[in-house]
Subunit: 234 residues, 2 copies
DNA sequence: ATTGAAGTGAGAGCACTGCTCTCGTTTCGA
DNA sequence: TCGAAACGAGAGCAGTGCTCTCACTTCAAT
């Protein structure tokens, strides 16, 4: 990770300037979106030569990648915090907290949401650095479902058929999170995931006529419906 | 709309060149995505000066808009054709056809899908020209649900509560399509929509480890599940 | 303490982009 | 027939990502 305590004055300055670049880029991103993110504009904002910025981020994509990682971690923190406020055995409450935390964050940071969970940025292939922080929300969901299943909760609706090949493939993912989950429930969790992000994307990107829907109410109802489908009670 | 029969030789040439520009741009889009779409590259491809292209499309965004409209229409045609192959009273079959047509098209044209239903292109606000073709799939879904409800079909699960404000707001949309649909079923249809596109987006954009999921099987199961939730039988 | 390598910032410059303007030329309708 | 409109080409402007070179500063090993 990051060096624990930068000793030399130069290292401190480097860390600070790196932070300043990220902040400036972040501000640009929040304002005008990822395409408008310009290395030269960041340099202008910080009163430095554009070439100097390249001492800190080798490429524009590298800068974008750093922003994506920060966005993932920001969302991950927010979700973890919201879920932790509920009692461990309040599975419906935990699910509600998770879902609403994701939506609230997405509404508050639409450009970051587009960057992380929207369609990939043009010509930009997510580097491996982003996959670990990118799984934090799904890990939280897996943890939740795993706890619920361990407590004897089962989905009331008929289970999906899970092909043998998938059963074998799902195992390693769960191992990575360190959790146990029946394949059927895991697949159901994936559908839950898709529904959650589908609704958020619809609200953010959908060409919905303004004011047609009270998304607060609508989203709450969908979340509760999904929770019921998962057998979390309510 | 478009002039029905261009008489003069110049008008014909203009139509042909417009078509050629769109084709070249389309090819670039399919290859490298929307960000790489370059007016100059199109001009090079067609052996003309870049300034000449601007006689046909006032701006890069205008060219992109034309491509988006064509994408919407292409998908709309495909969906309409697939749905029309089923008997009018085979509601589950019509729903399956619609859902799979959307997914098949998205998988075959990922960049176009991102352009139309993914996160909006950076700094690009969808002009009003795109809203009509953009509603073709949702219109098809509304038509389907309206037919189903008219045939006495009701969703088996408990109905969502629909605030009065939304009831009033939903009306005009349905009028625009020329259909009747109870507010509860309409909201349920919106959730269906979000689930459908959520799953497709997850398959296309999701940072899913390759080979983890057999999306053919998974998607089919989800579609059938949604169909059952809508009370379409099966 | 000195020296030399590494890190840093600035500036010029390349290749590319979207877009504009001007210039002759062609086409077409009145 | 004549004049307006449309057209294609070229030059040019402002902006971009990125590279290279050049001075200068910091820092660590001698």
């Amino acid at each position: 990770m990051a060096p624990p305590a930068p000793r030399t004055a130069r290292a401190v300055a480097r860390a600070e300037l790196t932070r300043a670049i990220l902040d400036s880029a972040q501000a640009q991103l929040a304002e005008t979106g990822p395409a408008a993110l310009s290395v030269r504009a960041v340099a202008r904002d910080l009163d430095m030569a554009s070439s100097a910025v390249y001492r800190y981020f080798a490429t524009r994509d590298a800068l974008l990648t750093a922003l994506i990682i920060e966005a993932y971690d920001d969302l991950g923190d927010q979700v973890d915090r919201a879920v932790a406020e509920r009692a461990d055995d309040d599975f419906l409450g935990r699910w509600r907290a998770l879902a609403h935390a994701v939506r609230d964050w997405a509404v508050a940071h639409p450009h970051q949401y587009a960057l992380t969970y929207g369609s990939p940025v043009p010509g930009y292939a997510a580097p491996t650095d982003t996959v670990v922080p990118g799984t934090r929300v799904s890990s939280a969901l897996i943890t939740l479902l795993s706890d619920a299943e361990a407590a004897g909760i089962r989905a009331p609706q008929r289970a999906h058929r899970v092909p043998a090949a998938e059963k074998a493939a799902i195992g390693p993912i769960l191992d990575h999170v360190g959790r146990r989950l029946s394949p059927g429930y895991a697949v159901r969790g994936l559908a839950t995931w898709a529904t959650l992000f589908g609704h958020i994307s619809l609200e953010l990107f959908g060409h919905m006529h303004q004011g047609v829907l009270d998304y607060d109410v609508h989203f709450s109802q969908v979340v509760d419906q999904v929770g019921a489908d998962l057998g979390l009670g309510g």
